[in-house]
């Protein structure tokens, strides 16, 4: 996922590959991507259902995370790069020491959001067959016929996970707030 900084690079080929990747991933429904991984790719490379699900989710979220980082990097004032360069820093040093730390802080709120979406998207993977929370719920529901109750419990589990995670993201944001202002 990290190597998706490709998009920002000046290299035309890397940039083009990333562009297609982003267009395809963001232009097609996640459920289709999961199906392709689960029924398609598994035939080409040996991949357990679990890892097929993980791969689909990572590639899917990777696209969005790339865009979050790109947006954050581009939102950093041009003067920052200029000041860094004018002190004799190389482009990469300036990126590493000056631009990325600021961009990373700025991308924490949308990243947190994306992780929560990703967390909930994991239920789709389950839908395709895996036995994660949602899958287990379906099994229990079918076996016990208490369909509604079981789904509510599953929903609550997700809610707890998401709330816990939101709380954590909030904490991190607060902690970084001191120097994030301007």
């Amino acid at each position: 996922m990290i190597c998706n900084f490709f998009r920002l690079s000046k290299n035309k080929i890397l940039n083009y590959i990333t562009y297609i990747y982003l267009a395809v991933i963001r232009g097609t429904p996640l459920i289709v991507q999961i199906f392709i991984f689960y029924y398609g790719i598994v035939n080409i490379i040996v991949l357990s259902p679990f890892w097929a699900g993980v791969a689909a989710l990572s590639i899917h979220n990777g696209a969005y995370i790339t865009e979050i980082f790109r947006g954050a990097i581009q939102s950093i004032d041009r003067g920052q790069m200029e000041a860094a360069r004018s002190l004799g820093m190389t482009y990469f040093l300036a990126m590493r020491r000056i631009i990325l730390p600021q961009a990373f802080k700025r991308s924490i709120p949308p990243l947190g959001n994306q992780f929560i979406i990703g967390l909930k998207d994991s239920s789709l993977v389950a839908y395709v067959t895996l036995m994660d929370l949602w899958g287990t719920g379906m099994n229990i529901a079918y076996n016990s016929f208490k369909v509604l109750e079981t789904y509510i419990v599953v929903g609550l589990y997700y809610l707890v996970l998401v709330l816990f995670f939101s709380y954590f993201v909030n904490k991190v944001e607060k902690k970084l707030e001191v120097d994030i202002k301007k």
Partner: protein, 240 residues
């Protein structure tokens, strides 16, 4: 110290710098004035290669700089730049801002770098603000930190672009004082400013730019009291 010959710069069709010739001696303080958009900032930016000139020559300490071949990072280490909008690193404290390039460009030990940074903050009278982040500083304080940050590199020349024009009036003086003390220490400076008091008192030479050209140059008295060009007079009447 620095010599500029027939420098030209275009932005697309726009001819921003036209045959600029300028020689800067060691220890000299040169003030550039001119109407908005006449190319003052562009000239400074060309001199530390944030913009690359299209034709002409730049010589620094007897060496002609070739932007294609020479290591511009090395050149920039010795040509400091102070920006109108400070451009401090907001995720670093005042002292970290000053020490940053010492540690990562000059490769000083951390301890040594912070010792130097501390001395420089003392010099710009901001020692007690060393551990504040830029967001906790006033504009004048930020600009003084920015000056200290450049001083840390011990540049041969400092390019200073409208250092006070984004400051509240009551904060301008502290920055000008800092610059005066540097000038008195013999720091070579090329300053774009419309602070006539500073120019009169400190400048060895004043340069008037108009439409991408240097139209007049001379001592502060010559330029301010007996300008030769009509354009200069027009401009001065507007800002005085």
């Amino acid at each position: 110290m620095m010599k500029i010959k027939k420098l030209n710069k275009f932005f697309g069709e726009l001819h921003v710098l036209k045959d600029i010739d300028l020689e800067i001696k060691r220890g000299e303080v040169i003030v550039i004035i001119g109407a908005s958009g006449c190319g003052k900032s562009t000239l400074l930016r060309c001199l530390n290669f944030l913009e690359i000139f299209d034709s002409g020559e730049i010589w620094i300490k007897g060496e002609k700089i070739d932007p294609k071949k020479d290591n511009l990072n090395k050149v920039r280490e010795n040509v400091g730049m102070v920006f109108q909008r400070f451009n401090l690193f907001p995720h670093k404290t005042a002292i970290e801002n000053v020490a940053e390039a010492l540690i990562h460009v000059k490769k000083y030990e951390k301890e040594e770098a912070f010792k130097i940074a501390k001395k420089l903050l003392e010099k710009v009278k901001l020692l007690e603000r060393a551990n504040n982040y830029p967001s906790q500083l006033s504009g004048g304080e930020m600009q003084r930190v920015a000056i200290a940050r450049v001083l840390a590199m011990k540049p041969d020349i400092m390019l200073i672009d409208e250092p006070t024009s984004s400051l509240d009036p009551e904060l301008i003086d502290e920055v000008l004082q800092t610059m005066k003390s540097l000038a008195n220490e013999g720091v070579t400076m090329l300053v774009v400013t419309h602070e006539m008091g500073f120019a009169r008192e400190m400048a060895d030479r004043v340069i008037v730019m108009d439409g991408g050209k240097i139209i007049e140059e001379g001592s502060p008295d010559e330029i301010f009291d007996r300008p030769e060009k009509e354009r200069t007079r027009e401009f001065l009447s507007k800002i005085l």
